[in-house]
Symmetry: C2
Subunit: 150 residues, 2 copies
DNA sequence: TTTACTGCAAAGGGTTTGCATGAGG
DNA sequence: CCTCATGCAAACCCTTTGCAGTAAA
Protein backbone atom coordinates (compact mmCIF):
# COMPACT_ATOMS: atom_id res chain seq x y z
CA UNK A 1 0.00 0.00 0.00
CA UNK A 2 1.45 3.33 -1.09
CA UNK A 3 1.31 6.40 1.11
CA UNK A 4 -1.14 7.89 -1.36
CA UNK A 5 -3.48 4.92 -1.00
CA UNK A 6 -3.09 5.08 2.77
CA UNK A 7 -4.11 8.74 2.83
CA UNK A 8 -7.11 8.04 0.61
CA UNK A 9 -8.14 5.12 2.79
CA UNK A 10 -8.05 7.22 5.95
CA UNK A 11 -9.94 10.11 4.30
CA UNK A 12 -12.64 7.65 3.24
CA UNK A 13 -13.07 6.76 6.87
CA UNK A 14 -13.42 10.42 7.77
CA UNK A 15 -10.36 10.54 9.97
CA UNK A 16 -7.90 13.40 9.77
CA UNK A 17 -4.58 12.59 8.23
CA UNK A 18 -1.71 13.83 10.36
CA UNK A 19 2.03 13.21 10.01
CA UNK A 20 1.94 11.29 13.29
CA UNK A 21 -0.80 8.98 12.07
CA UNK A 22 0.98 8.32 8.81
CA UNK A 23 4.19 7.48 10.64
CA UNK A 24 2.43 5.10 13.03
CA UNK A 25 0.44 3.47 10.23
CA UNK A 26 3.53 2.96 8.13
CA UNK A 27 5.48 1.61 11.08
CA UNK A 28 2.94 -1.19 11.35
CA UNK A 29 2.12 -1.68 7.68
CA UNK A 30 5.78 -1.85 6.68
CA UNK A 31 6.64 -4.36 9.37
CA UNK A 32 6.39 -8.12 9.46
CA UNK A 33 7.34 -8.67 13.11
CA UNK A 34 3.98 -7.79 14.67
CA UNK A 35 5.33 -4.89 16.73
CA UNK A 36 4.13 -4.01 20.21
CA UNK A 37 3.07 -0.52 21.24
CA UNK A 38 6.51 0.07 22.76
CA UNK A 39 8.25 -1.04 19.58
CA UNK A 40 6.08 1.22 17.44
CA UNK A 41 6.82 4.05 19.87
CA UNK A 42 10.56 3.51 19.57
CA UNK A 43 10.44 3.31 15.79
CA UNK A 44 8.40 6.49 15.41
CA UNK A 45 10.20 8.51 18.06
CA UNK A 46 13.15 9.18 15.76
CA UNK A 47 10.94 11.35 13.58
CA UNK A 48 8.59 12.61 16.31
CA UNK A 49 10.54 13.01 19.54
CA UNK A 50 7.63 14.70 21.28
CA UNK A 51 5.10 11.98 20.52
CA UNK A 52 3.65 10.22 23.56
CA UNK A 53 2.20 6.78 24.05
CA UNK A 54 -1.29 8.27 24.29
CA UNK A 55 -1.06 9.24 20.64
CA UNK A 56 0.15 5.77 19.70
CA UNK A 57 -2.74 4.11 21.50
CA UNK A 58 -5.26 6.53 20.07
CA UNK A 59 -3.95 6.12 16.53
CA UNK A 60 -3.80 2.33 16.72
CA UNK A 61 -7.44 2.37 17.75
CA UNK A 62 -8.31 4.51 14.74
CA UNK A 63 -6.31 2.31 12.38
CA UNK A 64 -8.01 -0.81 13.70
CA UNK A 65 -11.49 0.70 13.32
CA UNK A 66 -10.56 1.69 9.77
CA UNK A 67 -9.73 -1.91 8.99
CA UNK A 68 -6.05 -1.32 8.30
CA UNK A 69 -4.55 -3.29 11.16
CA UNK A 70 -5.55 -5.84 13.76
CA UNK A 71 -4.70 -6.00 17.43
CA UNK A 72 -3.30 -9.34 18.60
CA UNK A 73 -3.57 -9.53 22.40
CA UNK A 74 -0.97 -11.65 24.17
CA UNK A 75 -0.61 -12.34 27.87
CA UNK A 76 1.83 -9.51 28.61
CA UNK A 77 1.09 -7.02 25.84
CA UNK A 78 -0.64 -6.55 22.53
CA UNK A 79 1.03 -6.78 19.16
CA UNK A 80 -0.25 -5.35 15.91
CA UNK A 81 -0.73 -7.21 12.66
CA UNK A 82 -0.91 -5.68 9.20
CA UNK A 83 -1.51 -8.91 7.27
CA UNK A 84 -5.29 -9.17 7.39
CA UNK A 85 -5.48 -12.08 4.95
CA UNK A 86 -6.36 -15.39 6.58
CA UNK A 87 -3.05 -17.02 7.56
CA UNK A 88 -1.18 -18.79 10.34
CA UNK A 89 1.01 -17.04 12.92
CA UNK A 90 3.91 -18.92 14.50
CA UNK A 91 4.43 -17.73 18.08
CA UNK A 92 7.64 -18.77 19.85
CA UNK A 93 7.07 -19.61 23.51
CA UNK A 94 10.74 -18.95 24.29
CA UNK A 95 11.75 -15.73 22.55
CA UNK A 96 8.28 -14.34 21.95
CA UNK A 97 8.83 -13.69 18.25
CA UNK A 98 5.79 -13.90 16.00
CA UNK A 99 6.06 -14.60 12.29
CA UNK A 100 3.52 -15.13 9.57
CA UNK A 101 3.74 -18.29 7.52
CA UNK A 102 2.22 -19.01 4.14
CA UNK A 103 1.93 -22.67 5.15
CA UNK A 104 -1.68 -23.65 5.57
CA UNK A 105 -3.04 -20.42 4.16
CA UNK A 106 -5.41 -22.30 1.86
CA UNK A 107 -6.54 -24.45 4.78
CA UNK A 108 -7.38 -21.38 6.84
CA UNK A 109 -9.38 -19.95 3.96
CA UNK A 110 -11.34 -23.20 3.65
CA UNK A 111 -11.87 -23.29 7.41
CA UNK A 112 -13.23 -19.75 7.32
CA UNK A 113 -15.63 -20.72 4.53
CA UNK A 114 -16.75 -23.76 6.49
CA UNK A 115 -17.49 -21.77 9.64
CA UNK A 116 -19.23 -19.03 7.67
CA UNK A 117 -21.47 -21.46 5.85
CA UNK A 118 -22.23 -24.13 8.40
CA UNK A 119 -22.65 -22.18 11.61
CA UNK A 120 -24.99 -19.45 12.82
CA UNK A 121 -22.00 -17.20 13.34
CA UNK A 122 -21.18 -14.18 11.13
CA UNK A 123 -17.41 -14.30 10.74
CA UNK A 124 -15.59 -10.96 10.62
CA UNK A 125 -11.99 -12.03 10.95
CA UNK A 126 -9.89 -14.80 12.42
CA UNK A 127 -6.72 -15.39 14.35
CA UNK A 128 -4.79 -18.62 13.96
CA UNK A 129 -1.76 -18.93 16.23
CA UNK A 130 0.49 -21.95 16.58
CA UNK A 131 2.54 -21.73 19.75
CA UNK A 132 5.79 -23.60 20.11
CA UNK A 133 9.53 -23.25 19.57
CA UNK A 134 11.14 -21.54 16.62
CA UNK A 135 14.12 -23.34 15.13
CA UNK A 136 16.69 -21.29 17.02
CA UNK A 137 15.02 -21.75 20.41
CA UNK A 138 14.36 -25.46 19.73
CA UNK A 139 18.09 -25.98 19.12
CA UNK A 140 19.05 -24.09 22.27
CA UNK A 141 16.56 -26.10 24.26
CA UNK A 142 17.96 -29.37 22.91
CA UNK A 143 21.48 -28.25 23.82
CA UNK A 144 20.40 -27.40 27.35
CA UNK A 145 18.73 -30.77 27.80
CA UNK A 146 21.73 -32.68 26.50
CA UNK A 147 24.01 -30.72 28.80
CA UNK A 148 21.86 -31.42 31.84
CA UNK A 149 21.97 -35.16 31.19
CA UNK A 150 25.79 -35.35 31.42
CA UNK B 1 -11.79 -35.84 34.45
CA UNK B 2 -12.74 -37.08 37.90
CA UNK B 3 -11.54 -35.35 41.05
CA UNK B 4 -9.42 -38.42 41.76
CA UNK B 5 -7.69 -38.11 38.39
CA UNK B 6 -7.24 -34.40 38.94
CA UNK B 7 -5.53 -34.99 42.29
CA UNK B 8 -3.27 -37.62 40.77
CA UNK B 9 -2.39 -35.32 37.89
CA UNK B 10 -1.40 -32.49 40.22
CA UNK B 11 0.64 -34.80 42.46
CA UNK B 12 2.51 -36.06 39.40
CA UNK B 13 3.50 -32.47 38.73
CA UNK B 14 4.74 -32.11 42.29
CA UNK B 15 2.25 -29.43 43.24
CA UNK B 16 0.47 -29.48 46.55
CA UNK B 17 -3.20 -30.27 46.39
CA UNK B 18 -5.27 -27.82 48.39
CA UNK B 19 -9.04 -27.39 48.56
CA UNK B 20 -8.65 -23.97 46.95
CA UNK B 21 -6.74 -25.38 44.01
CA UNK B 22 -9.25 -28.14 43.48
CA UNK B 23 -12.09 -25.66 43.52
CA UNK B 24 -10.39 -23.37 41.02
CA UNK B 25 -9.39 -26.25 38.77
CA UNK B 26 -12.89 -27.67 38.77
CA UNK B 27 -14.39 -24.23 38.13
CA UNK B 28 -12.44 -24.10 34.88
CA UNK B 29 -12.53 -27.77 33.91
CA UNK B 30 -16.30 -28.04 34.44
CA UNK B 31 -17.03 -24.93 32.42
CA UNK B 32 -17.50 -24.39 28.72
CA UNK B 33 -17.75 -20.61 28.72
CA UNK B 34 -14.03 -19.80 28.98
CA UNK B 35 -14.36 -17.94 32.29
CA UNK B 36 -12.32 -14.87 33.16
CA UNK B 37 -10.40 -14.52 36.42
CA UNK B 38 -13.25 -12.47 37.86
CA UNK B 39 -15.80 -15.10 36.89
CA UNK B 40 -13.74 -17.88 38.43
CA UNK B 41 -13.36 -15.72 41.54
CA UNK B 42 -17.13 -15.26 41.81
CA UNK B 43 -17.84 -18.95 41.28
CA UNK B 44 -15.34 -20.10 43.89
CA UNK B 45 -16.13 -17.45 46.48
CA UNK B 46 -19.29 -19.25 47.56
CA UNK B 47 -17.20 -22.05 49.02
CA UNK B 48 -14.14 -19.98 49.95
CA UNK B 49 -15.26 -16.53 51.05
CA UNK B 50 -11.77 -15.54 52.19
CA UNK B 51 -10.05 -16.42 48.94
CA UNK B 52 -8.38 -13.50 47.16
CA UNK B 53 -7.55 -12.86 43.53
CA UNK B 54 -3.88 -13.46 44.26
CA UNK B 55 -4.66 -17.11 44.93
CA UNK B 56 -6.68 -17.36 41.73
CA UNK B 57 -3.86 -15.93 39.65
CA UNK B 58 -1.26 -18.11 41.34
CA UNK B 59 -3.33 -21.25 40.92
CA UNK B 60 -4.19 -20.56 37.30
CA UNK B 61 -0.48 -20.28 36.62
CA UNK B 62 0.14 -23.62 38.26
CA UNK B 63 -2.69 -25.28 36.37
CA UNK B 64 -1.41 -23.92 33.07
CA UNK B 65 2.15 -25.14 33.75
CA UNK B 66 0.69 -28.55 34.62
CA UNK B 67 -0.97 -28.70 31.23
CA UNK B 68 -4.53 -28.75 32.54
CA UNK B 69 -5.75 -25.43 31.19
CA UNK B 70 -4.74 -22.77 28.72
CA UNK B 71 -4.82 -19.01 29.08
CA UNK B 72 -6.55 -17.17 26.25
CA UNK B 73 -5.50 -13.51 26.35
CA UNK B 74 -8.02 -10.99 25.02
CA UNK B 75 -7.69 -7.23 24.77
CA UNK B 76 -9.31 -6.42 28.11
CA UNK B 77 -8.73 -9.59 30.11
CA UNK B 78 -7.70 -13.21 29.91
CA UNK B 79 -10.06 -16.12 29.72
CA UNK B 80 -9.27 -19.72 30.54
CA UNK B 81 -9.84 -22.73 28.36
CA UNK B 82 -10.12 -26.34 29.48
CA UNK B 83 -10.58 -27.93 26.06
CA UNK B 84 -7.00 -28.49 24.99
CA UNK B 85 -7.92 -30.50 21.90
CA UNK B 86 -7.37 -28.66 18.63
CA UNK B 87 -10.64 -26.86 17.86
CA UNK B 88 -12.17 -23.57 16.79
CA UNK B 89 -13.38 -20.87 19.20
CA UNK B 90 -16.16 -18.52 18.15
CA UNK B 91 -15.68 -15.09 19.74
CA UNK B 92 -18.56 -12.62 19.57
CA UNK B 93 -17.40 -9.06 18.97
CA UNK B 94 -20.59 -7.68 20.46
CA UNK B 95 -21.31 -9.60 23.66
CA UNK B 96 -17.86 -11.06 24.22
CA UNK B 97 -19.05 -14.63 24.62
CA UNK B 98 -16.67 -17.37 23.57
CA UNK B 99 -17.86 -20.84 22.61
CA UNK B 100 -16.11 -23.90 21.29
CA UNK B 101 -17.38 -25.42 18.09
CA UNK B 102 -16.80 -28.90 16.75
CA UNK B 103 -17.01 -27.50 13.23
CA UNK B 104 -13.65 -27.67 11.52
CA UNK B 105 -12.03 -29.72 14.25
CA UNK B 106 -10.61 -32.17 11.69
CA UNK B 107 -9.33 -29.27 9.62
CA UNK B 108 -7.48 -27.81 12.62
CA UNK B 109 -5.93 -31.21 13.31
CA UNK B 110 -4.73 -31.46 9.70
CA UNK B 111 -3.44 -27.90 9.84
CA UNK B 112 -1.47 -28.72 12.96
CA UNK B 113 0.03 -31.76 11.26
CA UNK B 114 0.95 -29.67 8.23
CA UNK B 115 2.72 -27.01 10.28
CA UNK B 116 4.49 -29.63 12.39
CA UNK B 117 5.77 -31.51 9.36
CA UNK B 118 6.54 -28.83 6.84
CA UNK B 119 8.00 -26.04 8.94
CA UNK B 120 11.01 -25.69 11.22
CA UNK B 121 8.70 -24.89 14.08
CA UNK B 122 8.01 -27.28 16.99
CA UNK B 123 4.30 -26.92 17.66
CA UNK B 124 3.19 -27.12 21.30
CA UNK B 125 -0.41 -25.94 21.06
CA UNK B 126 -2.62 -23.75 18.97
CA UNK B 127 -5.35 -21.19 19.26
CA UNK B 128 -7.90 -20.77 16.49
CA UNK B 129 -10.37 -17.93 17.06
CA UNK B 130 -13.02 -16.76 14.65
CA UNK B 131 -14.27 -13.31 15.58
CA UNK B 132 -17.68 -12.09 14.50
CA UNK B 133 -21.28 -11.93 15.61
CA UNK B 134 -23.14 -14.72 17.36
CA UNK B 135 -26.66 -15.34 16.13
CA UNK B 136 -28.31 -13.29 18.84
CA UNK B 137 -26.08 -10.26 18.33
CA UNK B 138 -26.32 -10.54 14.54
CA UNK B 139 -30.11 -10.35 14.80
CA UNK B 140 -29.98 -7.36 17.13
CA UNK B 141 -27.58 -5.63 14.81
CA UNK B 142 -29.86 -6.23 11.84
CA UNK B 143 -32.81 -4.82 13.78
CA UNK B 144 -30.83 -1.72 14.70
CA UNK B 145 -29.82 -1.12 11.08
CA UNK B 146 -33.35 -1.57 9.80
CA UNK B 147 -34.65 0.84 12.41
CA UNK B 148 -32.08 3.48 11.54
CA UNK B 149 -33.07 3.40 7.88
CA UNK B 150 -36.69 4.41 8.57
C1' DT C 1 -13.21 28.99 11.21
C1' DT C 2 -14.56 24.80 13.01
C1' DT C 3 -13.57 20.45 14.46
C1' DA C 4 -10.72 17.08 15.94
C1' DC C 5 -5.90 15.62 17.03
C1' DT C 6 -1.63 16.01 19.87
C1' DG C 7 0.94 16.14 24.02
C1' DC C 8 1.03 16.09 28.89
C1' DA C 9 -0.25 14.51 33.35
C1' DA C 10 -3.07 12.01 36.16
C1' DA C 11 -6.13 8.29 36.95
C1' DG C 12 -7.69 3.58 36.10
C1' DG C 13 -7.64 -1.36 36.50
C1' DG C 14 -5.96 -5.95 35.80
C1' DT C 15 -1.96 -8.48 37.46
C1' DT C 16 2.13 -9.27 40.31
C1' DT C 17 4.90 -9.21 44.44
C1' DG C 18 6.42 -9.50 49.49
C1' DC C 19 5.55 -11.08 53.70
C1' DA C 20 3.39 -13.23 57.82
C1' DT C 21 0.41 -16.95 58.85
C1' DG C 22 -1.27 -21.47 58.10
C1' DA C 23 -1.72 -26.01 55.87
C1' DG C 24 0.08 -30.11 52.95
C1' DG C 25 3.13 -34.08 52.55
C1' DC D 1 8.86 -30.79 60.77
C1' DC D 2 9.92 -28.52 56.62
C1' DT D 3 8.35 -26.64 52.66
C1' DC D 4 5.13 -24.40 50.16
C1' DA D 5 0.33 -22.20 49.65
C1' DT D 6 -2.89 -18.73 51.27
C1' DG D 7 -4.48 -14.16 52.32
C1' DC D 8 -3.67 -9.39 52.67
C1' DA D 9 -1.82 -5.11 51.12
C1' DA D 10 0.98 -2.55 48.38
C1' DA D 11 3.34 -2.04 44.19
C1' DC D 12 3.53 -2.49 39.16
C1' DC D 13 2.70 -1.43 34.58
C1' DC D 14 0.01 -1.10 30.57
C1' DT D 15 -3.73 1.56 29.03
C1' DT D 16 -7.22 5.17 29.27
C1' DT D 17 -8.97 9.72 30.25
C1' DG D 18 -9.34 14.95 30.63
C1' DC D 19 -7.81 19.06 29.20
C1' DA D 20 -5.33 23.02 26.98
C1' DG D 21 -3.06 24.14 22.93
C1' DT D 22 -2.61 23.31 17.97
C1' DA D 23 -3.16 21.64 13.38
C1' DA D 24 -6.21 19.65 9.60
C1' DA D 25 -9.84 20.61 6.29
Amino acid sequence: MTQQELVAWLRDWGVRVTPQRLAIAEAVLNSTDHPSVQQIYERVRDHFPSMTLATIYSTLGVLEKSGLIQELPFAKLSRYESNLEPHVNLVCIECGNVVDTSLGQEAVLRLKALISEESNFDVAWQRVDFHGWCRRCALERRDREEASQV
